[in-house]
């Protein structure tokens, strides 16, 4: 099948849906016999495939006994609402709200103008899980706010009566009539849109995307992450983020994230506010995030508010679920290479909840099984090597509600990778026997823990105190033990061991406040302190000639301690009804080697609402980064080290300016953004330098240089309805410049891809069946290929030599363009105790050969591709 024949239907499917006629115009029949008005509305919503929001306190006590015959939706609703004081308002193509007919206007008393604050949490029905970035809007007025990362909102209004609309993508909207005669706490629960298996409201009234000064920002729906087809069926946040414009994937299959010309170390990846230093499993093929344990994911790639810092290129803010406060629930998933379990529930109902999630791959078990089944032996009759190749994750969180004002959260994550092999060799002849055991392996992992306390000081002041620990370690070990037993002599014994460790340990405290003095100001301020301990390289060698010998270990352990502190303030200020600004300042300092680096980072974000459905946006940000990452390649290898700013190696710094516009086009939103970014003091290994455990200092091996990137990003996104997904396009340029490389001339960054397109879509045919498809295309990455050869000098050892090769410029060629189609199908079925899902996936469905790397061979360039065709199958059961 040709490429175009596959792309066309996908595009057509998207476009047809965007212009589809609303099913509300269909004529249907239904008999409603003695049911409540609430039930009648729910049934009608299901029948006509629309979303209807209503206040149940108005409808629960009204009985309906009628028959709807061949009527449109609006005719049907008019029939059942005929004798009530409820009227229908259409807010979107497939979305309606039922409100009281007599809608008293807010009582505004000009000479009194008292202001009160409406505040509270927005949570999910059935679990009390917090909804982050849910919209709270005053109907009929251009006023509103969104919930913070703890689901808390605060809105200060004149006293009076208001219809407040609570919305969240994927959930049914809720309209509450609030009589604001004093400060009011209103904790609100939203029901999932899936309960109606239907579309969700995207009202123009709540379409605050146009009024928020957010540039270079994306919020990911976890439902979408779990539905999208991915490699080996392992739902992955970072791989879904790679599909967004401005974000490039690394190598084939890798979870590496390259944002707007930046490198992976310039991404601040936060799990519950705690940095994760290595977000990769299996050399980057999977990320550390278990999608079952994640509540929300937000990506900042341009307009960073002042509360975020520490990295140059992006912030990926991942928040774990908190655990169901109301009932026990869970999910078990069994896939071809991994299995997962996720359990949550109340410890004390509505007071304390927990969530526990674990995942492990079993590639090693499959290989070991195959070896045992085949009874493989080597020439000496020894059993074949038994490799250990697996990764695991454990997420846990406990959440306790002391009162409406105080909550405590304790979260924990531990994940690790193990790659190792143990060999046992035995050799016997007439004179002696020889036994040897060799263990070789590498392992790496993150451990984080966070304790947070939320306190509502007043309806206008929300505080959060966090204490965290983050630990990352990379270990390499080699161990060999030999025993030779001569038949007539003493036993000879040998033991040698080499251990190498690289890592970083952080202890942090952070204090954040949200202060909302009025509807036109939302002020966030706070500070943080981190104590870093860097261990770029520690090694230990042990040699023994007797089993019980105590030896003096030859050990080198070089660690460096550093202190980092930051304070910030930002104000989301409504300058005029259509003009909003988020202005902020972040100041930081870093103390290391007896010197202190200081930095002030201004942030300015502006949005101007040009029409009800469109806006213009602007951002200017400066970022500072005190940590560096020394990487010799594109995979997570032992030679990749986190190192601090030191006396010799200065902090990285970036400046970025972005200009964007957003436009709502019916159920879709179009965003266009242009950006220009410069980076300074980024480091690289010198030519020919690489990590060596004997190094007295790595600082001598690095050079500092500059980076530059600019581009244009377009995103057409549809977040609600049966069809969800987006089309993303990026046109970009990214360069590096080091005096020591390329004769001081700038050269393309490895992941400089001129064009990058991603089309991803999920379509829910019915509650039992949905499909997903993702197609990606990008210009081939830049690659360094030696383009000339010559004779090297080897005469000192009197040997002839192969050619030595030389290259004119770094990244002097382009690998072939990359494109791939992934498909996924989910079959759901309600069972007695829950819901089971079979998920089938196909990675690289049309078997395209995508080049991983090239090498010269016999007068031609050979391209090596990975993952030609990867099917996946997962069974999951949700209870």
């Amino acid at each position: 099948m040709s490429r175009s024949s596959l792309i066309k239907p996908l595009l057509t499917l998207l476009l047809v849906h965007f212009i589809a006629v609303a099913p509300a115009q269909d004529r249907q029949s239904i008999r409603l016999k003695n049911v409540s008005l609430s039930d009648a509305i729910t049934k009608i919503a299901k029948l006509y495939h629309v979303q209807i929001a209503f206040n149940t306190s108005l409808t629960n006590n009204i009985k309906v006994n009628t028959a709807i015959n061949d009527k449109t939706l609006e005719e049907a609703l008019s029939t059942i609402l005929k004798d009530t004081n409820i009227q229908l308002e259409r807010v979107d193509k497939n979305a309606y709200i039922l409100v009281e007919k007599v809608k008293p206007k807010p009582k505004i008393i000009p000479d009194k103008k008292k202001k009160y604050t409406l505040s509270g949490y927005v949570t999910q029905h059935g679990s009390s899980e917090k909804l982050i970035a849910a919209s709270v809007a005053v109907m009929g007025k251009p006023q509103g706010c969104i919930t913070n990362e703890f689901g808390f909102y605060s809105l200060t209004l004149d006293d009076g009566e208001y219809d407040i609309m609570y919305t969240y993508v994927g959930y049914q909207p809720l309209v509450l009539r609030i009589n604001l005669a004093g400060n009011t706490v209103q904790n609100t629960i939203l029901k999932s849109g899936h309960q109606l298996q239907e579309v969700v409201v995207r009202s123009s009234k709540d379409n605050d995307i146009h009024i928020r000064p957010q540039v270079g920002f994306n919020s990911l729906s976890m439902d979408y992450v779990k539905s999208a087809p991915v490699l080996l069926g392992e739902a992955d946040i970072l791989k879904t983020i790679q599909l967004l414009p401005g974000v490039k994937a690394g190598n084939e299959g890798s979870a590496g994230v390259y944002v707007r010309g930046g490198s992976p170390d310039q991404n601040l990846i936060l799990l519950d506010g705690v940095p994760i230093y290595n977000a990769s499993h299996m050399l980057g093929f999977f990320s550390v995030f278990n999608a079952d344990a994640i509540n929300s994911t937000q990506l900042y790639k341009g307009g960073f508010p002042a509360r975020y810092g520490e990295r140059l290129s992006s912030v990926i803010d991942v928040r774990m679920k908190e655990g169901n406060m109301e009932k026990y629930e869970g999910e078990i998933a069994v896939g071809l290479i991994s299995s997962k379990i996720n359990v949550s529930g109340p410890i004390f109902k509505d007071k304390t909840s927990f969530i526990l999630s674990a995942r492990r791959t079993y590639t090693d078990l499959l290989i070991k099984g195959a070896i045992l089944l085949s009874d493989a032996k080597d020439d000496n009759g020894n059993s074949a090597e038994m490799p250990d190749i697996y990764f695991y994750d454990i997420n846990a969180k406990v959440n306790h509600k002391f009162s409406d004002k105080d909550r405590l959260y304790l979260s924990f994550y531990r994940g690790g990778d193990v790659l190792g092999v143990t060999t046992n060799e035995a050799f016997t002849n007439n004179s002696y026997s020889d036994n040897a055991r060799t263990d070789i392996g590498i392992s790496w992992g993150n451990s984080i823990a966070a304790l947070r306390w939320n306190h509502i000081f007043s309806p206008k002041l929300f505080g959060n105190l966090t204490a965290t620990s983050s630990k990352y370690a990379f270990k390499v070990f080699f161990e060999r033990e030999t025993t030779t037993t001569p038949t007539q002599d003493k036993v000879s014994y040998g033991f040698q061991s080499l251990r190498f460790k690289s890592g970083i340990d952080d202890f942090s405290t952070k204090l954040d406040f949200d202060y909302i003095p009025s509807t036109i100001h939302t002020i966030k301020f706070g500070g943080a302190y981190t104590f870093h301990t860097f261990t770029p390289n520690a090694s230990e060698i042990v040699l023994k000639e007797k089993p019980d010998q105590t030896t003096e270990n030859e050990a080198t352990y070089r660690s460096k301690e550093a202190h980092e502190a930051a304070a910030y303030i930002e104000d989301l200020y409504e300058i005029a009804p259509k003009l909003k600004m988020n202005a902020g300042l972040r100041a930081s300092l870093f103390y290391v080697d007896g010197i202190t680096y200081k930095s002030v980072e201004p942030r300015l974000l502006l949005s101007y609402q040009t029409t009800e459905t469109s806006s213009l946006k602007f951002a200017y940000v400066e970022m500072n980064q005190y940590l560096h990452f020394l990487s010799s390649g594109s995979l997570a290898l032992p030679s990749d080290l986190w190192v601090p700013t030191t006396k010799k190696v200065e902090p990285q710094r970036s400046r970025q300016v972005s200009l964007g516009m957003t436009k709502s086009l019916g159920p879709t939103v179009l965003s266009l953004e242009a950006y220009y970014k410069t980076m300074n003091k980024i480091i690289e290994y010198k030519d020919g330098a690489s990590f060596n455990i004997s190094d007295t200092t790595w600082e001598e091996k690095v050079v500092m240089g500059k980076g530059e990137s600019y581009g244009l990003e377009a995103l057409l996104e549809k977040k609600s309805g049966r069809l969800t997904g987006w089309i993303g396009y990026t046109l970009s340029w990214a360069y590096r410049k080091f005096n020591e490389f390329n004769n001081g001339q700038k050269y393309p960054f490895t992941y400089d891809r001129r064009h990058d397109i991603s089309i991803t879509a999920c379509y829910k045919f019915s509650p039992r069946f949905d499909i997903g498809a993702t197609w990606v295309y990008s210009t081939g990455r830049a690659f360094t290929l030696a383009n000339e050869v010559y004779t090297p000098y080897t005469s000192d050892i009197r040997q002839s030599s192969d050619n030595a090769s030389n290259f004119s410029n770094r990244n002097n060629i382009r690998l072939p363009n990359y494109h791939r189609l992934d498909l996924g199908v989910n079959f759901h079925k309600k069972k007695k105790w829950g819901e089971r899902t079979w998920s089938l996936g196909l990675y690289n469905a049309y078997l395209n050969h995508n080049t991983f790397f090239v090498y010269p061979s016999e007068g031609k360039l050979r391209s090596v591709g990975l993952f030609m065709f990867v099917p996946s199958l997962t069974y999951s059961y949700k209870f």
Partner: protein
């Protein structure tokens, strides 16, 4: 049944991790050819300089050596050393380099940018043999050798260790020197562990500059009953050591998709190759 399950497992793993290769056509940028000058300078040997050129990747017809180059070799006292082209890009002289002088080579060839380089011969390393022990294991011999180096603090030095059997006779007309594979656990060793480099161990004096350093290494697979063995310790100039270090790295990283290709160090202005000194001390072992 076991066989079937085993085969199914392999098929699954093969399918999920299947990779493949094919020929591709990619525009390879061309660049102006450069002159190459190779010469390791030691007072023990007469002058022998190789002059060559770079050729484009996949060009198998253009020779990589240049005969008839306009080559000039001079000492800093103005002495000119006459060189004769003996073929295959080799230019030789019966004279040997002398300690205390700085030499400069200049090469000009029509169609190429001219190149030049300078170097100063070194004194030999101060080294003594501490111990040597032969072990037999699994039918193979292995010799553990311990030497003590005294490093000069005045210069940044590299050291190369080799073990060889001199002038082994392989037929009536030809002799050659057999170099043995070496092993070393010393953390100061820059290049142990790859097939390409195991015949030479490279050390840098960064962590023992100006002090004494004991190095323990093993020589693998020597037939002691039929051959003589000697250990060669070379003191190398910074240029020579850096060239060897990057050449070893270049060879071990060749075609690796996970790292940037390594540019081989050169001290030849406008060109490639090396014009640098080393000096050897030979210790007979057996």
């Amino acid at each position: 049944m076991k066989q079937i399950l085993s085969h199914l497992t392999y098929i699954f793993l093969g399918a999920t991790l299947l990779s493949c290769e094919k020929n591709v056509t990619i525009d390879i940028p061309s660049s102006s050819p450069k002159l190459v000058v190779n010469c390791g300078i030691t007072t023990d040997s007469s002058w022998s300089i190789f002059v060559g050129r770079t050729v484009p990747l996949f060009d198998e017809h253009t020779p990589k050596y240049i005969n008839g180059a306009n080559i000039s070799l001079s000492a800093d006292d103005g002495t000119l050393i006459p060189l004769a082209n003996t073929g295959n890009g080799i230019y030789t002289s019966a004279q040997k380099p002398l300690l205390g002088k700085e030499y400069r080579v200049e090469v000009n060839v029509e169609g190429f940018s001219g190149v030049s380089a300078t170097c100063r011969p070194l004194t030999p390393p101060q080294v003594e043999l501490v111990s040597k022990t032969i072990k037999f294991e699994n039918g193979y011999s292995s010799t553990s050798v311990e030497v003590r180096l005294t490093d000069s603090k005045d210069s940044e030095d590299f050291y190369i260790i080799e073990a060889r059997s001199p002038e082994s006779l392989i037929d009536l007309n030809t002799t050659y020197i057999a170099y043995y594979n070496l092993g070393c656990d010393d953390l100061a060793c820059e290049n142990v562990g790859t097939d390409e480099t195991s015949k030479q161990l490279l050390f840098r004096d960064r962590i023992f500059s100006g002090s004494k350093k004991i190095i323990v290494f093993t020589i693998e697979g020597v037939d002691y009953q039929n051959t003589e063995v000697e250990c060669v310790i070379k003191r190398c100039s910074y240029d020579f050591g850096e060239y060897k270090r990057t050449l070893f790295l270049h060879q071990s990283n060749l075609d690796s998709p996970f790292s940037q290709p390594v540019k081989i160090y050169t001290n030849v202005n406008n060109g490639l190759g090396i014009f640098a000194s080393y000096q050897s001390t030979v210790i007979p072992l057996y």
